[in-house]
Symmetry: C2
Subunit: 334 residues, 2 copies
């Protein structure tokens, strides 16, 4: 690692259709100098999230990523210089690091995190993936023992945790994934009760076969047709937890709007609710305590897909959007 | 009133398209004799509700109404003979009376109600309409002062109460109704801040003009396109209260499924939730106390549309589905 330059990956063009590695380019910049109240951070791990692609479309819960700027992303970084009280070199933090080696940020924008081994768990079980699954499933879905939980993108970062937490809560769990091979793995390795390949055959029929009585909780990571099919198979008092809509992120947005039936929402008293992880920051410690206990006890397998080197980020995101990862994908920068 | 016969209106055919008065016929039957534990009721008022039409399609939160049976409906009735403890002749009850002069029902199926003047308030402010508006808006919508509430079928039975209760809670209220004349009336007589005629021009544009910053609470009585347009204009943390979907009830159901955008549900953390009044029976007394206080204080105008005579029921329901009523429509049987 060259300590005099800051490698940065720029989004050189906002893609109209599918994202490509050619939409990015690497540049070199000086290492920034932190101002009073800021920290200079050395980026260790960058998280790949389907939402990264959604940020390119427009302002969401954050500003849009614009062409010519450093591509944004969450990450784990180490403090190398502190101009803020309460932080010292060597401290680890979670923040929006962007795709680069170094960043200077106000201390108020970071969350200090405990060093764990392996460090990667800070982005998987004890980070974005685990906490998103935990809060979404438990606080919004409110699963009860014996209920049926369906989760889409089940082999993905959030999905693997949702399914395993639902099993811990005594639910019957059905995963939706994009290959027979992923489906087999979910059942065999992660203890899902069943899994359905949405790319093969009729999803409606497959879900009805997997759960004839319907769905109590649908944890939606994908939107689109899968949302529509699951929404139509909800049971009385069913809950749809809206976590993401990856089917609509990579490309144009026009066909991304599934249909719902308001009459059935009334009759079945369904609830549909969206959230993002940071809505539950007040409950972070509770979530981490539970997640650590479950990981330590071997009740949750932490599935990670770690790529190496800052330069691998564009391909890692393109591949994530195509569904090539299993579990939490991230890039080890250095 | 002939005390020896029981006039009944039968649903003679389950309509495929729009409901017509010719789908009903009157018949005469003997007055039923109550068994042990039952009450013989003399029906006084029958409620007309858009849901009556939905019941014909299929099982909902209750069994379907089938051809050849007495048309079902909620009503207020007087006990004329009691074979159950706790009830005496002269008591008033709310129950599913059906469209007839007399019915014998198990006492466990009725709710005793206090006699008020006028009696019609038992179906409007202190009955289905008022309580549906109260529980849906307050328990599900949870309005805060200064928020913008949009309600569809605003001049209808539930809508007139939703708008007035929202005003009491300090909200800005926009009604959606089906004529310029109704819209003017909502603003002039019921204190709505604005009203939009969904039959004229572009609903999206009209709502944006009425509420440029978007909608905090959408109280949906209609489903369909109106649902879709309102759902697309929700603000951060917006709530959609699903109370009914009258646009989908009268006719075939195939085009009744509006689109939603799961990605926006996440980004804005929207909640969509369905309910029926009886979900909130435990809070009935609280609702009635508030509603009575507001009516007595003149803060809620009770809008009723009362038709006379059992024989007027079919036309009253057909007209309700066409939007001809203002406020709570009911039929005074005798």
């Amino acid at each position: 690692m060259n300590r005099t330059i800051n490698r940065q990956i720029i989004l050189s063009v906002v893609p109209k259709g599918k994202l490509s590695v050619h939409d990015f380019k690497m540049r070199e910049a000086p290492i920034p100098i932190p101002n009073e109240g800021e920290l200079l951070l050395n980026v260790r791990l960058v998280s790949l999230d389907a939402a990264n692609r959604a940020w390119m479309h427009r302002e969401t819960y954050r500003a849009a990523v614009e062409a010519g700027n450093v591509m944004d992303g969450y990450g784990i970084a180490e403090v190398v210089d502190s101009k803020a009280t309460g932080f010292a070199p060597g401290d680890l933090v979670f923040t929006t690091t962007g795709w680069q080696d170094y960043i200077a940020v106000p201390a108020s924008n970071v969350t200090k995190v405990e060093r764990v081994d392996p460090l990667t768990h800070l982005l998987s079980a004890y980070g974005i993936a685990g906490r998103t699954a935990y809060h979404g499933l438990l606080s919004i879905g409110q699963p009860r023992e014996g209920e049926t939980v369906v989760v889409s993108a089940a082999a993905g970062s959030v999905g693997t945790f949702v399914g395993q937490i639902a099993k811990i809560k005594g639910c019957r769990v059905i995963g939706i994934a994009g290959s027979a091979e992923k489906c087999g793995w979910l059942v065999r390795e992660l203890g899902f009760d069943d899994a359905v390949n949405y790319k093969e055959g009729d999803l409606t029929k497959a879900l009805k076969a997997a759960s004839p009585a319907g769905i109590d909780i649908y944890f939606d990571n994908v939107g689109g047709t899968t949302f529509e099919v699951c929404a139509s198979q909800m049971k009385l008092h069913g809950r749809i937890v809206c976590c993401g809509a990856v089917s609509s992120y990579d490309g144009d947005l026009s066909d991304a709007r599934p249909r719902v039936n308001p009459s059935q929402i009334v009759v079945k008293r369904l609830m549909v609710k969206g959230f993002i992880m940071s809505d539950f920051n007040a409950e972070r410690n509770l979530a981490l305590a539970d997640l650590k206990a479950w990981v330590m006890a071997g009740r949750i397998k932490v599935i990670e897909d770690v790529c190496d080197g800052l330069e691998s980020l564009p391909a890692a995101l393109v591949g994530l959007l195509a569904g090539e990862n299993r579990g939490k994908r991230m890039v080890r920068v250095q």
